[in-house]
């Protein structure tokens, strides 16, 4: 991790987790990137209102 990232991390007083990096194939990333099917007609605004 670079000095800048270490400095960034230190500003959160422990309320921060670093995710362990793992090697995933390009195919697996592609599949993950399109994994969620939402109903036709549902907009991003509606999605936003649903998480409130």
């Amino acid at each position: 991790m670079t000095k800048k990232l270490e400095k960034f991390k230190s500003k959160y007083n422990g309320a921060i987790q670093v995710v362990e990096k793992r090697k995933h194939s390009a195919k697996k990333i592609d599949e993950a990137l399109q994994s969620l099917s939402i109903p036709k007609g549902v907009t991003l605004k509606q999605i936003k209102s649903c998480v409130r």
């Binding site: 991790m1 960034f8 500003k11 959160y12 990333i29 109903p39 007609g41 999605i47 936003k48």
Partner: protein, 183 residues
């Protein structure tokens, strides 16, 4: 999406993360364009080995969307009111959460993990006093909703300014560098 050189660290909003994970098959042309832009941008961040951070609220948001989407699929809710119908179903009949839905949600969780584990460095920011106290100030400063203010506060506590979101409301944050353009 901006084509500028990427900064060392970018903050991801819930709307961006969710957009990147949505299958664009049923979308309008604008939505398909947005989803494609989000997916291309995620790949760019991974390829250029940049760090990302997100407030843990994004995980809750993603779970809610995945759950509602699965309920819609199972009970054939398929119009613009689909999510409202799914929420009503959940409220009236919690037993609608059957094992097949749990299994599919588990797969969604793995997909989300695949993405954030693929970044060179990924920070998950948790709630803390500094974030919440700053969020209250930002609600007033930018006229933001509380959840939006928490995302911006979680970035600014770390002294950063590059925020990735498709949400128009963040355009009110005049002094942040917003990386997605919804127009």
């Amino acid at each position: 999406m901006k084509n500028d050189p990427l900064p060392e660290i970018l903050f991801l909003d819930s709307s961006f993360i969710i957009s990147a994970l949505i299958n664009p098959v049923n979308g309008s042309p604008r939505k398909v364009k947005e989803l494609d832009a989000a997916q291309t941008f995620v790949k760019r961040i991974i390829e250029e080995k940049k760090a990302v951070a997100f407030y843990t609220l994004a995980i809750t948001a993603y779970w809610n969307i995945a759950l509602l989407s699965e309920l819609c699929r199972k009970y054939s809710y398929s119009d613009y009111r689909a999510f409202q119908s799914a929420k009503q179903k959940l409220k009236n009949s919690p037993s609608c959460l059957t094992d097949d839905i749990k299994e599919r949600l588990d797969n969604h969780k793995k997909s989300f993990e695949t993405i954030y584990e693929s970044f060179e460095v990924c920070f998950k920011i948790e709630s803390c006093y500094e974030i919440h106290s700053l969020a209250y100030k930002l609600i007033k400063k930018y006229h933001l909703e509380s959840y939006d203010a928490l995302h911006i506060a979680s970035m600014q506590v770390g002294g950063e300014n590059d925020f990735v979101s498709f949400d128009d409301d963040f355009k009110r944050c005049y002094d942040i560098n917003l990386w997605c353009d919804c127009d």
